[in-house]
Symmetry: C2
Subunit: 353 residues, 2 copies
Amino acid sequence: MSYRELLSKDSYWMRDEEIPIVLSTRIRLARNLTDSTFPQDVNEEEALRIEEKITAILADYILEGERLHYLALNKLTDIEKRVLIEKHLISPGFPELGVARGVAVSESHKVSIMVNEEDHLRIQVLLPGNNLWEALRLAGMIDDYLEERLDIAYKDKFGYLTSCPTNVGTGLRVSVMVHLPALVRTNQVQKVLGALAPLGLAVRGLYGEGSRAFGNIFQVSNQITLGKSEEDTLTHLEAVIRQLVEHELQAREVLKIEAPLITQDKLWRARGVLENARLLTSDETFTLLSEDRLGIDMGILPKANAGFVSLLVNSLQGCLQYKISRPLDGHFVNFERANFLRQVYASASTHQT
Amino acid sequence: MSYRELLSKDSYWMRDEEIPIVLSTRIRLARNLTDSTFPQDVNEEEALRIEEKITAILADYILEGERLHYLALNKLTDIEKRVLIEKHLISPGFPELGVARGVAVSESHKVSIMVNEEDHLRIQVLLPGNNLWEALRLAGMIDDYLEERLDIAYKDKFGYLTSCPTNVGTGLRVSVMVHLPALVRTNQVQKVLGALAPLGLAVRGLYGEGSRAFGNIFQVSNQITLGKSEEDTLTHLEAVIRQLVEHELQAREVLKIEAPLITQDKLWRARGVLENARLLTSDETFTLLSEDRLGIDMGILPKANAGFVSLLVNSLQGCLQYKISRPLDGHFVNFERANFLRQVYASASTHQT
């Protein structure tokens, strides 16, 4: 697989799953080498030695038939790095960290392993839909492979040692991306999500800490990594997600029963704009795609020609620029975004009357 | 022609003409009988006598092959009266004036003659597009027919005597309906139309005095009826209209050259809403239809399946209610309006990309 093919393809986690509300699952394990300084204090020479040691081991690794391709950040253009961020294969701040940084990506993008990010190793598994246990299984396999070949920092009393104390213990972060448009529309989302913090869960937007909840999409993840097993963490999150889905489905019933015409009108208008606009900002696009997806889920709109998450990610600036192979300024990004979406939607709608 | 057919049909003036900016022309002559009190002071008995005298004469009248049908207001439902107002066949305040009022309407709706409105006779000719002289010719023929058979109040020094002194003289009001969306969009309309008052011209919205300029449509009409011949009035108005058209066309060029993408985006979105909305207020509808028509005129949007003025009038509450034969409250009017427009637009657009 060429390096351009690898970057251009839709990530596995961007697929549409049957379950309409839980969009995707991500598991991340933070790991560090015993004999090395943590990445934030490392000098260039040592960073390079760490990178070399890890990539040598990853080069031979085949996970369930898939090879990993290592992408050194200093060999990538700004647009390429942006594509990796948009596809969740690297974290947003990663490209700023300096030399000897990179990411090993599997062909399906199910696995991405960042080298010399906040920790020496950040193992990520990204799957579509609600797939906590499968993600944990894959992450565990990778972890086992690496632990057999590297000295990983671990203390019996604490667990895995990490650069940031909030990750000490399991080093595990599980994030689930949920689409809650009806809870937003019925003004219940603050209340419902506000109840999660006391349960040790964090809520963020689509692109990590501090990012706004564009497109009515929220990432729910565990905060606690110390004193709780991986299995307990997943079981707990799973129960919470089940409740969130229940609340969202109830809110959709409320919309259907109490405001059927207003809801239909709103959702059909979103489809109409996606089919017709010539300029679309990314903010508006996220809102429209969210409404469009809600309309499809509720049986109001005909299915679109592409999946929700795929459309969201591919309409981001990096992916748009990468596709046409040149940088674009604001106005022309909005133009290309509208063109992209119009082509997708042109033949989707049957215009029932 | 049945009385329901007469009310249901599109008025001749609602047709689309080749000229895109001047939508329609109306001429009105105010006339009164010499031996009778003006309508505002008349008692019921005298009003009935006047109505009888006039309708007897109109019953025999055939204007270029067309008969006139007399509709007594007290025999009409509220919805029917509303349809007459929306089609400009009677004035908005006419139904409130009391008994012995009515209107004689020709089959094409080119001619409507109100009896016992502000004056005993209000002769109206309504034509599509820019048709001042043809309208004057028809109005003159009707006026001649009536003057041969009735004693019309006329004084050599003043001209025709009318109930309101502003009409004394020719008793002529010429109104031209113009569509000026690009002047509105480029913020020039106030300046351009503001220059008309000193020229003795009034500017109003689509539904007469005090009505707002919905849909970027303005009625320009003469204010002066005394000391100026019919021909001078028309020549003067014609020159002004020619200038307005010129200004609007220039403003459209400005939009095309200076903001092509923003303009295309705006106009395609309007089309998208017309094709998809499930609820439309009349305010929004007028704006959308105006944008849609501008898009068609500018060659940006494919032609719609019905004319602009016809869509405007038929999406008004009275016409919508008359079509489905029952009164509708706000929410359901908006629903029926959206259904009506969606059916018109469903197959119009080719979704070019």
